[in-house]
């Protein structure tokens, strides 16, 4: 390479490095005249938004500034000039204005494609269908708007664990209002006051335990059943569909049952809504504590079906338990039972399947699944029995071998003594 060409490359590289360093040294986009004044305001109401926005905000990170939501002229040094009507200053948007401000960008497909191409753009439309949106349209400004859930300044991405709408935080965010009995006063549903114990109940549910104890973020929280932007209680006819979003097999079985025509609240009739307990076999049947007996009385077909299905499930459960114990015993004695362990797992699958089929409330289907499960346990029991016979055979063999060994040892000892006496 020629020396002058090298020098040119070197100069270019230096310019690029200097440009990168200069760009690095530039204040973030949010560093505007608004922030310069608001940050140092003695009033917390004026200073905190500026400080929060300067600290972290998904919009700030993408180059948006205060004026994009509030209007005004950030270059003006004078407060009056900065907020002059000619600058488009909007001040603090409230109520429907918040929806409009957010939707200006979030409903703009072309704009959103630049920043988050996969993000939906129908939040505002959905919001209008929600109870919140409908109430707002009626002039109720107490209801939640975008900022109530996402925050106004310091907005974080939904996937950020510190975001108020991160799955683990949703229940707390919703119940900020919904657990506040004072705030909820006056709101009714089907003529009754809206409850404020949803969170307390939810925290006892199997869904909450899955999410919090097992950190399963796919477990449902408020918005998974109620919707988020279009939040509303699922209608009576929609409950089975909502639950069926995840529990699809149960929903399809339930749809076949006569109960689907009779139950006013679908799945909720037996499983409750916010406080959904871990389902158990004890819920089925007619014994004390079983749910079927709530409606069915002795002699009716439902009573008979529930009793029969519960008895069948209990029988298979007991048979599996027995087979497990037998397998463990034989394996403990050194017999390899890997194939039988798999068969037993299959029997367990049949038990689960019977519990699923039960939601169609047709005893004949359940009985046929249970019969297959029982046949599998019988197979395992037969193998365990063969294993026990094998153990017994081995022990007999060992006893004979040991007897022979002891005899040889005694004979050798006698021979040694004879030899020693002789010498």
């Amino acid at each position: 390479m020629q020396p002058h060409v090298s020098r040119a490359f070197l100069s270019l590289a230096l310019v690029l490095v200097a440009a990168a360093a200069w760009a690095e040294a530039q204040p973030p986009a949010a560093e505007t005249g608004c922030l310069a004044c608001h940050r140092d305001q003695p009033s917390a109401a004026l200073a905190t938004p500026a400080r929060d926005f300067a600290l972290t905000d998904v919009h700030r990170d993408r180059g948006f500034t205060c004026v994009d939501c509030h209007g005004g002229d950030p270059r003006a040094t004078d407060k009056v000039a900065a907020k002059a009507p000619s600058t488009g200053f909007r001040g603090k948007p409230t109520g429907a204005a918040i929806i409009a401000v957010c939707a200006r960008c979030h409903s703009d497909a072309a704009l959103m494609r630049k920043y988050a191409p996969k993000q939906r753009i129908d939040q505002a439309t959905e919001y209008a269908t929600s109870v919140h949106g409908q109430q707002l349209a009626k002039g109720d400004t107490k209801v939640a708007t975008c900022v109530s859930c996402h925050g106004a300044h310091g907005v974080r991405l939904v996937g950020d664990a510190q975001s108020p709408v991160y799955p683990l935080n949703v229940a707390a965010t919703c119940t900020k209002c919904h657990a506040d009995s004072e705030r909820m006063k006056g709101y009714t549903r089907a003529g009754a006051a809206l409850p404020t114990d949803q969170r307390v109940k939810y925290e006892t549910s199997v869904h909450y335990r899955a999410m919090v104890d097992r950190n399963d973020l796919s477990a449902p929280t408020c918005n998974d059943c109620h919707g988020n932007h279009g939040a509303a209680p699922p209608g009576v006819d929609a409950i089975a569909n909502v639950c069926g979003t995840c529990h699809s097999v149960f929903a399809s079985k339930f749809a076949l049952s006569t109960h689907s025509q009779i139950f006013d609240r679908g799945c909720v009739e037996c499983h409750n809504n916010h406080d959904i307990a871990q389902p158990s076999d004890e819920m089925l049947g007619t014994a004390q504590g079983a749910l079927c007996a709530t409606c069915h009385s002795e002699g009716d077909n439902g009573h008979k079906a529930a009793t029969s299905m519960r008895a069948g499930i209990d029988t298979l459960k007991t048979a599996i338990g027995h087979s497990e114990a037998e397998l463990a015993r034989v394996e403990n004695d050194g017999i390899e039972m890997g194939a039988e362990t798999l068969t037993l797992r299959e029997a367990n699958n049949h038990l689960t399947l019977a519990r699923t089929e039960m939601h169609a409330f047709d005893p004949t289907i359940v009985e046929s699944v249970l019969a297959e499960g029982m046949a599998l346990t019988a197979k395992v029991d037969a193998a365990a029995e063969a294993g026990r016979r094998e153990v017994s055979y081995r022990r007999t063999g060992l006893a004979i071998s040991l007897a022979f060994i002891v005899l040889v040892v005694i004979a050798l000892q006698m021979k040694i003594r004879t030899l020693e006496n002789r010498s």
Binding site: D333, G334, L398, S401, L402, I405, I416
Partner: protein
């Protein structure tokens, strides 16, 4: 016919000389002679390992995909496969145990003293080779516990200064424990170590036959003061004693194989979470436990490296003990050797138990 065959062989192999040697050979009789049989039992267990090992070879498949399944097949489908596998596993452990008993009895009776230095050296080398058998054989069923224990074990080899990294990679056949390690350990277990054992064991047995049994210094003193040490003929007296002990060992092995079957465990999975209670075989446990307890750095030097060096030094002292304890040949029993032996024994006992309890 038999006589004719004997005469035919005698002309070619000079069997009469061997017969004469055996007929003339005698073994001293004294109160410590029970320890003589420990070596015999160890030898018997080596034979059991060879026999059962060859049978296992017929069905075992040394690859990461098939090893575990083949062991499962051996214990569940092959006629008496369960017995052979259990005996092989138990015999391996009893073999190392008996080798230690043999070593400590030889040490305390000072049987290594002149002129049996080489018998001791070959014996200690055999113990190291047996431990190598144990280490390589542990991985062969390719189960979870063995997989992670081998990872830890080969990792410790990596702590050796200068050659550590090479040794670790050489043992593993790469950077990590994989199917390549299994194949390598298999080759080591069924070809390289047996070849080494054959050579060293041959020398060890030859030396014993050439030099005869050592008597403890206390008995030797009596002999020197004019007392006659009673002797028993090697054949058939001593051989029958040996045979009797071998039968006892066989009975113990059979009972252990049946009542305490060796577990197969879960198939090794490199991506699985390391199961709790990972530990090596019991004969490495005392060393493993010490390495675990050592601080990360001792006076600026890596603790594990110091530990490995310490064990290396101890192994060298053990190997060359006859040349370090020169007074033993003159009948001066070194108290240092006795104290060292007792400490080593106590250390092994305490730290092995501690290792089990800590896991």
């Amino acid at each position: 016919m038999t006589q004719q065959l004997y005469a035919w062989l005698d002309q070619r192999l000079d069997l009469s000389a061997l017969q004469h040697f055996i007929a003339e050979k005698s073994v001293p009789v004294h109160k410590h002679r029970v320890w003589y049989y420990m070596g015999g039992i160890t030898l018997f267990l080596v034979g059991v390992q060879v026999f059962t090992g060859i049978l296992l070879l017929l069905y075992y498949r040394p690859s990461a995909d098939e090893a575990f399944e083949s062991v499962k097949f051996i214990v569940s489908q092959v006629e008496f496969g369960w017995l052979i596998r259990n005996i092989h596993s138990w015999s391996a452990n009893l073999l190392i145990f008996m080798a230690f008993v043999h070593l400590f009895s030889t040490l305390f009776l000072r049987s290594y003293r002149k002129p049996r230095e080489l018998t001791w050296v070959t014996g200690v080398l055999l113990l190291f080779v047996m431990m190598g058998f144990g280490f390589s054989g542990y991985l062969l069923p390719w189960n979870e516990l063995a997989f992670f224990a081998t990872k830890v074990g080969t990792g410790i080899a990596g702590a050796v200064p200068v050659v550590g990294d090479f040794t670790m990679r050489f043992l593993r056949g790469g950077d990590d424990v994989t199917g390549a390690t299994l194949t390598r350990f298999y080759g080591l277990h069924v070809a390289i170590l047996p070849a080494i054992t054959t050579g060293i064991l041959g020398v060890h047995l030859l030396l014993i036959q050439r030099q005869g049994m050592s008597v403890p210094p206390s008995v030797e003193k009596q002999e020197k003061s004019g007392a006659t040490i009673p002797q028993m003929p090697f054949f058939p007296h001593y051989v029958l004693h040996d045979l009797m002990w071998w039968y006892v060992a066989l009975g113990v092995l059979a009972a252990l194989a049946l009542f305490l079957p060796w577990e197969i465990g879960k198939k090794a999975d490199a991506f699985a979470v390391v199961p709790p209670g990972i530990r090596p075989e019991w004969y490495f446990l005392a060393m493993f436990q010490v390495l675990k307890l050592l601080p990360a750095h001792i006076m600026g030097v890596e603790g594990e490296m110091l530990g490995v060096l310490g064990f290396g030094l101890a192994a060298m002292v053990l190997l060359f003990l006859p040349f370090l304890d020169r007074g033993a040949a003159e009948g001066r029993s070194s108290r240092l050797v006795t104290i060292g032996g007792v400490i080593a024994l106590a250390y092994m006992l305490v730290f092995t138990i501690y290792g089990y309890l800590a896991a």
